[in-house]
């Protein structure tokens, strides 16, 4: 079994009554010869790494290499615990985990690049907060990772997930699309709705530039991971409400790729444009 476009994937799922994640799992067994349980066990390890990173950042501020960030996850989570979160406890918790995972990444901790290190907070922020809030179990979360992988694969295959090529929309945008599909799937969304969620999430972050201060994966990357997970929640909600993506996912991916190629080099991970060149941002990073 193989598919290279969202249209093929959807036809396959609807024809054989599969979820996106199940189709992705079957593709993997055909591609690699690995067994279903072996693949799920490896994903369980990925999930465990995500949980450990989130727990570390929520327990203590992480001392990062560049020193631009640290302690944000705890600050956010405290307001949630005090019942003050203006965006509600689910989003506050999702954002805290997403931002905390970036703290761990920036302090040379162990993370899962999903799809990249710079966007590694979005998917754990989405999945772990969903599990805490709605009681999803381990197997459901593994299904969520498979759904996310299907979407990430389509984008990596047909466009790019590298900030140096496509800007932050290719990194956090992709992570947001992956998370949106996973959340929609966890709540019983059909394959079509999951793809709507992914398409909507990617459209909503289209054009997002990659402008890391000092060239470090810290700021504004950390906040972008939080907006990535917020966008995923909104996109899942709209898809589950029956609102389609502005265009089918394949067309959204092609549009995102075209936008990425049209971005000037200054806005693609070179730290030569965007917020990276704002005077006070330059003053914060020493000697770059």
């Amino acid at each position: 079994m193989d598919f290279t476009t969202a249209a093929q994937l959807l036809a396959l799922c609807e024809g054989e009554g599969l979820t996106l994640g199940e189709a992705m799992l079957r593709r993997e067994t055909d591609l690699t010869g690995a067994g279903r349980e072996e693949i799920r066990a490896r994903l369980a390890r990925s999930l465990e790494i995500m949980e450990q990173a989130a727990a570390a950042a929520l327990a203590a501020p992480q001392k990062t290499m560049g020193g631009l960030i640290g302690g944000e996850a705890i600050a956010l989570d405290r307001r949630r615990a005090e019942g003050k979160a203006v965006c509600g406890p689910l989003l506050a918790r999702s954002a805290a985990i997403a931002m905390g995972t970036l703290e761990v990444n920036a302090s040379m901790g162990l993370i899962v690049a999903a799809p990249t290190a710079g966007s590694c907070g979005v998917l754990p922020g989405a999945l772990l907060a969903q599990a805490e809030t709605f009681g999803f179990g381990r197997e459901e979360l593994l299904d969520g990772l498979l759904t996310a992988a299907a979407v990430g694969y389509l984008i990596a295959r047909n466009a790019t997930v590298a900030g140096a090529e496509g800007g932050c929309q290719a990194e956090v945008g992709t992570a947001s699309a992956m998370a949106a599909a996973a959340i929609a799937g966890l709540h019983g969304g059909s394959p079509e709705q999951c793809l709507w969620a992914a398409g909507t999430a990617l459209v909503n972050l289209m054009g997002l530039v990659c402008d890391p201060i000092g060239g470090l994966v810290e700021s504004p990357c950390q906040g972008r991971n939080a907006i990535g997970v917020a966008g995923a929640l909104v996109a899942a909600e709209t898809a589950l409400a029956g609102i389609p993506s502005p265009a089918p996912l394949d067309e959204v991916i092609a549009a995102m790729y075209a936008v990425g190629r049209a971005l000037p080099g200054e806005l693609r991970e070179t730290a030569l444009g965007g917020i990276a060149t704002a005077p006070s941002a330059c003053a914060r990073c020493h000697g770059c």
Binding site: M24, L25, E28, L31, T32, I39, R42, L43, R45, S46, I49, T64, M65, G66, V104, N105, A106, S107, M108, G109, L110, I111, V112, A113, A114, P115, T116, A117, G118, C120, L123, L145, L146, A148, A149, G152, Y153, A156, R157, V161, A162, A164, M178, G214, G215, L216, V217, E218, C285, C288
Partner: protein
């Protein structure tokens, strides 16, 4: 075209902060390490481009040392690799070259020296997503990724060597996926790089090394 496994998307599992500047740097050093018989006692690094400008904040230096020490991208010892180098008897130095604009922005030269006093000068590039390519060894342009089981044979540029190498592999039931030959200049040293689907056994490498024109035959494990 690349196949894209689930674990290319949900992964790699890695010590942050950057797949290109941390995990990819580690892989350059891991590959370079395979190009000289151990134990390695000294590593001198020269960093170029973006590596030279942002190495400290990305832990590129720690990752390079970790790679020479043989640590993987998931190994939490990467963070303390300076200390581990001391403990494991590896001396090191770093130099920066921010002027050279001809090379890929994420390039490192690594000069390795082993306990026997042999040296290897290796140039590697981190090409994105944690992947790395070795571009040069001892002044000879090569192309080596470590995506397959690889044997690197250094030999005299003389008739019949390649036939002897491939015959030895055939006798060991190794199917060659890719094979490339590079040389310094006519009649001087040459490198044959063979990538195989199967794990190449140590004894096959020893048999290849026994051919008189062969100076060394090193196995570089798939990573």
């Amino acid at each position: 075209m690349k196949d894209f496994s689930i674990f290319d998307i949900i992964g790699p599992n890695m010590i942050g902060p950057s797949s290109s500047h941390t995990a990819g740097a580690l892989r350059i050093a891991q590959l370079a390490r395979g190009m000289i018989p151990g134990p390695i006692v000294r590593a001198d690094f020269t960093l170029y481009g973006s590596f030279a400008r942002t190495y400290r904040g990305h832990g590129t230096d720690r990752a390079l040392i970790a790679g020479v020490l043989g640590f993987g991208t998931e190994d939490s010892r990467i963070r303390d690799s300076f200390r581990w180098a001391e403990k494991m008897g590896l001396r090191y130095s770093f130099a920066l070259d921010t002027q050279n604009r001809d090379c890929h922005p994420n390039t490192a030269d690594i000069r390795l020296e082993n306990a026997a006093g042999e040296t290897a000068l290796v140039t590697g590039v981190s090409v994105g997503g944690g992947a790395a390519v070795i571009r040069r060894i001892n002044g000879v342009e090569i192309d080596l990724t470590g995506e397959y089981h690889t044997i690197l044979v250094r030999h005299k540029d003389t008739p019949g060597v390649v036939a002897a190498i491939t015959r030895t592999l055939a006798e060991n039931h190794i199917n060659i996926a890719f094979m490339r030959l590079y040389r310094e200049s006519r009649g001087q040293m040459a490198y044959t790089i063979i990538e195989a689907d199967e794990d190449i056994p140590q004894e096959a490498a020893a048999q290849i090394q026994a051919h008189p024109p062969v100076q060394s035959a090193l196995l570089i494990p798939r990573i």
